[in-house]
Every structure is written in structure tokens, then in C-alpha cells.
Symmetry: C2
Subunit: 290 residues, 2 copies
Amino acid sequence: MSSIPTQNIYDDPKFFKAYSTLPRSQHGFDAAPEWPVLQEMVLKNNKSGHSGIENEHVLDLGCGYGWFTRWARENGAKYVKGMDVSTKMIERAKESEQDLREKGSIPPSYGTLCYEVGDIETVSFSASEIDSYDLVYSSLTFHYIEDFSKLLQQIRLCLKKGSPKDDSRKGGRLIFSVEHPICTAPVNPQPDWKVLPIEDGDGVGRKIWPLNSYSDEGPRMTSWLGVDGVRKYHRTVETYVTALLQNGYVLTGLKDWVPSEHDVEEHPEWKDERHRPYFLLISAEIHSDY
Amino acid sequence: MSSIPTQNIYDDPKFFKAYSTLPRSQHGFDAAPEWPVLQEMVLKNNKSGHSGIENEHVLDLGCGYGWFTRWARENGAKYVKGMDVSTKMIERAKESEQDLREKGSIPPSYGTLCYEVGDIETVSFSASEIDSYDLVYSSLTFHYIEDFSKLLQQIRLCLKKGSPKDDSRKGGRLIFSVEHPICTAPVNPQPDWKVLPIEDGDGVGRKIWPLNSYSDEGPRMTSWLGVDGVRKYHRTVETYVTALLQNGYVLTGLKDWVPSEHDVEEHPEWKDERHRPYFLLISAEIHSDY
């Protein structure tokens, strides 16, 4: 693999300011329509045989403002660590934590929450973190990572290992979301919906997602929030799944996320978003220490 | 689910005649560019811990002319059964078998090969077939099936069960291909490549696959080989994978098939086929009898 320095657009002052105006920056989960599905994956918990994350050790890779880390602690996690490459993001997460502390909103029963500036692309874990996490979570971060297989190897090291002979003692879980490969595939010019001059039953043109270059994996440069050259990596669904299987994970869930029909009733403007999956959500477990 | 009668276009004389002129009808695997990848899935055989299908009991659902059934017997399978809803297809498969027999091309060391006309949509197995197969294989058939989950339950019944406590005695395997959901998604008018009026580096328009209606699962009617109203069922990748996991299968492989770069060197006319996956290939295993 190449050794391009890790991208850190979130520490670009212009980008960081623009990012802070996004609905999901301001409102967190309430503005993240995929969250209910991700939350269900997190709470389903095949591993422990019960629902929830009570007493779990949780790591959030690319934690941003810390919405998930705080949610995990509120939902009973014993220890939660958030990591992000952006110093500004970690500062912001710590500020939110300080606000909660000053408001007296952190009961003594809550678990430990900590933050660390860290580059996920080259992450390695301390001896005390090896085999320590029940859950590694990551939202909309892995499509920035060049070497996904290497990352899976690192995550595997820090997840708890189960017994190969005992299904009730499965290992830790990895749950993540990425932009769906159908969305990241098209090359420049920047992809966007097109309307074909073919009338639908209701007399309007047919809206289509102009898919191309699906199998040509690699970097895709886009402009976002006024910053040019934002680099994402396009990988196929096959590659995401194969990398998991080859690195000793067992796939436990895969979602081609689109807004549900219920979502569209509440937000009719999202109707077209059902034409192609927008996010890929995946859950996996380590079943044995092989 | 509805009770629409099973489609049997292959017994339509006009369709059957046109189908017999297709390259993959005339040349079998040599005209099926996805075969090498499927073959690798079949021969990999995580189950037995060795490569190959020697001494296995194999069932081919939607066997057509019987290319795979004959290949399986040649490659050491002990017992191979081919099933197809089309009487004409099964007649043709039996004719090929008779030809081989007359030519003396079936050594006594070969396993048993048999054919049965059967509707996969409503298939059920005799007592002697329960827990009997090492491998269920199906090529380009499951996208005709309305109730995929019910089919998986039936297939599970006939696959050998492994021990839940012994990884070396995993259960039987299911390997299948379908038209990729990205291909089956678009609704009428019949989908086809479009060229957007955006120049590529080489001065030609950008070729795109006009994806829409991905999340709206259900029947898709097309015309094929001069027959109107050919009915296929569009399901998302999520639905294929989720149905497997919910029915007790462990996913062992998933391929978004496109021609390889090597294929394109040999067939430059296939270049555009790399823009979107054409087939979805899946392998799965039963790990325990729960």
C-alpha cells in the first residue's frame, strides 16, 4: 500500500466550521436517519445472549463530537473510549463532556469515558487494550481508510476473544457504517442524481443514480463543504465482506440502508433516496481465537 | 406470500428454442465467464477441510441442461441429482447423459447421476434426502423464486448437519449465483446502459448504469428471447444475506461478480461490464443443528 499521509480535513478550520453547521453535527442521532438501524445492531448483541451493552468495554473509532460515546455510557457501558484523528473534534467532545459535568448530568453510576487523538489508519493498541473490548463501533469513518484489511487486523487484536468450542462465549463485536459502495463508485465528475427523459406513470422523468466504475476500487476525490480534494476510498461490498471473513470475523448483519417507508412518510423529500442504498451497515463477531 | 403459479418459460417452445442458441447453452462453462469464480467457491470446501467435492452428495437446483451435474460427477461426487421445473430441460439433460453412455464416456468409477422434474418454489424432500447433501448448488435460478426464505428452510433440511461443538464437522454447503440486485433493481422501461453527455478523458460520453428502485423489492417483468412477461424477483443484497443468517447459515463468501481485468484483456468488448456487478455469487454453510 502507499504511504499517503492520513487526511485530516476535520482540522481544517474552514471545513470544521462548515461541518459544525450540518444537521447531524448539531442534532446528533436525531439528524442521523440510519441511527435506529445501527442502534438495533448494537443492542441486539448476539455475543452476550442478552440485549444491550451493559458493563461492556466500548471503543468508538472516528468518534467526532462523541455522540455515540456518550450514548454508550448512558446505556450502561462500563468503559468507553473515543478516538479521532482530529484534535478539534476531540476538543469538542471533551467540551461536551465538561458541560455535562458542570450541569451535574453524570451520575456516579456511569462508566468511564475518555478520548484520544489517534490516527485509525496506523492505530496500534497498548498491551492493556489487547483482548479488552466487547464492542468496536465506527460510524462513517472507514471509507476514509486506505488499508481496510490492516485495520481489521488491529481491531481484532483489541477485541475480546471467545472460546472456539463454546458458542455462548463468542468474542467481541465490530459494528460499522460506511457510505455505500454504490454511492462511492462513480468517478469524477462528481456523481449526482440524473433525470432520464423517460416519463414515469406520474408524468415526470425517471430519476436514476448514474452508477459506473463499481469494480475499480481506490481513492475518489470530491469537494465537500467548500473543501476540495476530500479523499474517500471506494471498495465493493465484496471487498468489505471478504476482508472481514479473511480476518477471522463472522458476519452477523449487513444492511443496504435507505430511508424506510415510514421515514419517507415523515420526510416526503427523502422519497428518491430509496432508489439506491446510501449507507452500508455491517455487524460482525469474532467467534474463536484462531 | 401470493400463490402465483410457478413460471415455466423454459417449457415455452419458442423460448426453449431461442434459449438453445445462447452461447452458454451451446458451450456451457466455456461461455459462462463467472464459472471460474463459482468453481473456486465449490472446490474451496471449508467444510471438509480439503479441496474438492470427492465422495460428496450434490443437489443442483435449476440444473437446466445439466452442465454442473456432469461436472460434479466428473470431479468425484458420489451422488448428484439435478432438478428443474422444465420438462424440456430435464429431457435435454437426460439426452446428454444418454449420449455419454453410448460413447462409453462414463467410467464405472463415476458416481450416480439422476434428474428430476421439480418445482423449486414448492420443493420438499423425501425422508431419505433429509440431512443427506454435502452441497446444494444453484446457478442463475433463485432470482425466479418468490419466497427465498422458505426455499432456504427447505434447503437447510436436506443439507447435512454438523456438530455444534466441532468446527471440523461443519454442516453442508449452499453455493449459488443470481443476477445482481443492481441489475434486477430498475423498473420498466427495461433497463439498459445509458451514455451521459459528459466527456471522459478519452472524449467519449460517460457510460452509466441507470440504477433506480433498488429498495423496492418484488417482481420485475421483462422481455427475453422474444417472450414477454418473463418474471424475476428483485431482492437487495441485504435481503439475500439476512435470509441466510436468519435461517441458520453462516456466510463464507460473497462476490460482486464483474469480468476480471484479465477477462477484459481477452474480451475487450466486456470493458463496460466492470461498471456494475452483473452476478451476485454467495457461499454459505450450516455450522450447527440449532
